[in-house]
């Protein structure tokens, strides 16, 4: 097994791995901004209106990230390094299609995390609409 796949990579492979890393960092940063800085829980403001499990999970993830914010930079750097390593390893051993599939998989995962947050916040907004905008 080639433990340093970037050593034998040509310049085009390295450039595409760089672009892939930029997109992954962008999406990861967006998710962190969502979960850490933009999450807001209004369940206490709406009496007797418990939030669904998925909305509570999205808020819980944000709370857990905020509580462990000092551990995040090294963990995320390790994950990004691993992501790039797997991409280059797949590209050098399995081929370009496998590397592209890995890239698509990670992008879809990060976009799903963004969707989960948006849905969690939107669920709270629906409660706002029910309670404040359209009072029964």
């Amino acid at each position: 097994m080639n433990l340093q796949p970037w050593r034998n990579a040509d310049s085009e492979t390295k450039y595409q791995a760089l672009v892939m890393a930029v997109i992954h960092v962008l999406l990861l940063g967006l998710n962190l901004w969502f979960y850490i800085f933009r999450a807001y829980d209004i369940s206490e403001m709406i009496d007797g209106e418990a939030l669904p499990a998925h909305a509570r999970l999205a808020l819980g993830i944000g709370h857990a990230l905020r509580a462990n914010i000092h551990f995040l930079p090294p963990i995320l750097l390790c994950l990004l390094w691993l992501d790039g390593w797997v991409y280059l390893h797949f590209r050098s051993t399995l081929g370009k299609v496998s590397a592209a599939l890995w890239n698509i998989g990670i992008v879809c995962l990060l976009l799903f995390c963004a969707y989960y947050f948006v849905e969690g916040m939107n669920t709270q907004l629906r409660r706002v609409e029910e309670v404040y905008v359209r009072p029964k």
Partner: protein, 127 residues
């Protein structure tokens, strides 16, 4: 390498598939988020609310009322995006095509950033 050979080159095809899947997923997320934005009548009910909330509410109303049109516009954007990417791959070196990929991804993510910013602004406001 002539044009037909280059167009059917597996590497080029794979890269375009990655581009279409990534941008298609982001566009679907953005259109879905705007179409499902809930308190659309918020702007009409509350008085002193920030301009950004009114704007998002109006956009969300427009998107949900013209969802089919936006789906068609999204498909057209994806096609144009793919054509521009292919042209850049063919006419310049591949680095410019990669820069196009990263830049358009960034631009497509901006509406989502605005959506989350305004959504959290509403949730943080004192009702």
């Amino acid at each position: 390498m002539n044009r037909s050979m280059e167009m059917s080159h597996p590497t080029t095809k794979n890269e375009r598939a990655v581009l279409h899947l990534t941008h298609g997923a982001i566009l679907a997320l953005v259109i879905g988020a705007y179409a499902s934005f809930s308190p659309r009548i918020l702007a009409n009910v509350f008085g002193n609310i920030p301009e950004s909330i009114v704007r998002l509410s109006n956009i969300a109303n427009f998107v949900s009322n013209n969802l089919f049109g936006f789906a068609l516009i999204g498909l057209a954007i994806l096609c144009l995006d793919g054509i521009a990417f292919r042209k850049l791959q063919r006419m310049t070196n591949k680095n410019w095509a990669s820069i196009w990929f990263a830049a358009t991804t960034l631009v497509l993510l901006l509406p989502l950033v605005f959506y989350v910013y305004v959504t959290s602004l509403i949730l943080r406001s004192d009702f």
